[in-house]
Point group: C2
Chain length 205, copies 2
């Protein structure tokens, strides 16, 4: 099957599989069946087998998946068998939390630069990072060839900053601002808005 044609909803589940497998590996577990994985993450065993089989025959009847092997395969498929540098734009509370987040290590990402447009914040330190001005953002991101950015600015500034990020060569934006961004087709955007997640649950309450 042509990898380009695999539905995005399947791609969206692979990081969840990878996370669960990594958790098992950290505990020293070497093999897992699709049933065991399914119970961990609340997805049916059949769905897991179907999703993973899109990329090859990684499991064995009887013994299930070799965890180290499947981790290696999924990391390669998701292009996180390398480290992507991230630029964070917007050093409010969420930007700070993300800059100091210790969950990126070993999962394919590393925060490289942080930016803000507030002259009072520029030059200050967040953890190991000096906050740079958004005035120098396009140039600095281009220089460092950074392709991934997290956008943690207020909604009112988000589109303008997104346009600059695109200009700087960013190809993937993790957007924490609660608005939908308009970007060219080749730019990927994922949204993190706690309220949309909460509202998806209150529907059922």
């Amino acid at each position: 099957m042509n990898a380009d044609k695999i539905p995005d909803i399947i791609i969206g589940r692979l990081p969840v599989y990878l996370r669960a497998l990594q958790r098992l590996a950290d505990k020293g577990v070497l093999n897992a069946s699709s049933q065991e994985l399914g119970e961990m993450i609340g997805i049916s065993a059949a769905q897991i087998r179907k999703d993973i089989s899109q990329f090859g025959e990684f499991g064995k009847q009887g013994t299930g998946y070799s965890i180290p092997f499947l981790i290696e395969q999924l990391r390669a498929i998701l292009n996180v068998d390398r480290v992507w540098e991230i630029a964070i734009v917007g050093m409010g509370d969420i930007g700070h939390a993300l800059a100091r987040y210790n969950g990126f290590a070993n999962r394919g990402f590393h925060v490289s630069m942080v930016f803000d447009n507030d002259s009072h914040k520029v030059g200050q330190k967040v953890g190991d990072f000096e906050i740079f001005s958004t005035n120098s953002m396009v140039e600095k991101i281009k220089q460092q060839k950074i392709k991934v950015a997290a956008l943690t600015v207020p909604a009112s500034a988000a589109q303008e900053i997104a346009d600059l990020l695109v200009k700087a060569g960013i190809k993937a934006i993790l957007n924490y601002a609660p608005i939908s961004l308009n970007v060219p087709d080749d730019i990927h955007v994922q949204y993190i808005d706690p309220v949309t997640h909460l509202q998806r649950m209150t529907y059922y309450l």
Copy 2:
């Protein structure tokens, strides 16, 4: 159509529609076509019309949707024509950011209590909130009849705290810890893990 049968993927898009409509309303716009909405949020007009028509005939040929009316309808459908109190558990960086987040207002949520298990943090203030001990969490959440919680503890503590939240009567958990939670079928969980969102994009890079 029986509302119980509407696919969760459609429910998941309604908050995005509501957010876009609210943004237009804030600008004083009174009507929008599905085309205009679609361009704002990157979803096809046909998909928007199909999703919304599951709940009734809210649009008019020619004039499109009345924004105030559709907002009112979506708020009722998503049960956010009321305010849900939220408990936040885990006062690290993310918990702090969430406690101080100003994006809940007018969207159906209000942070009500914050908890941590660290005796050095208990009793301290985060914004207007006094941090309470997780020892008193089950009792306090029960007393206040809080049904929604945000879980911002490390992965190692998340399942244990989730079990306590279920015991306390919580029905919806917004989980920031990078693990899948095991909870009873009637408890709703949504996950916010920046790395899974990032990996979903790097697949395409």
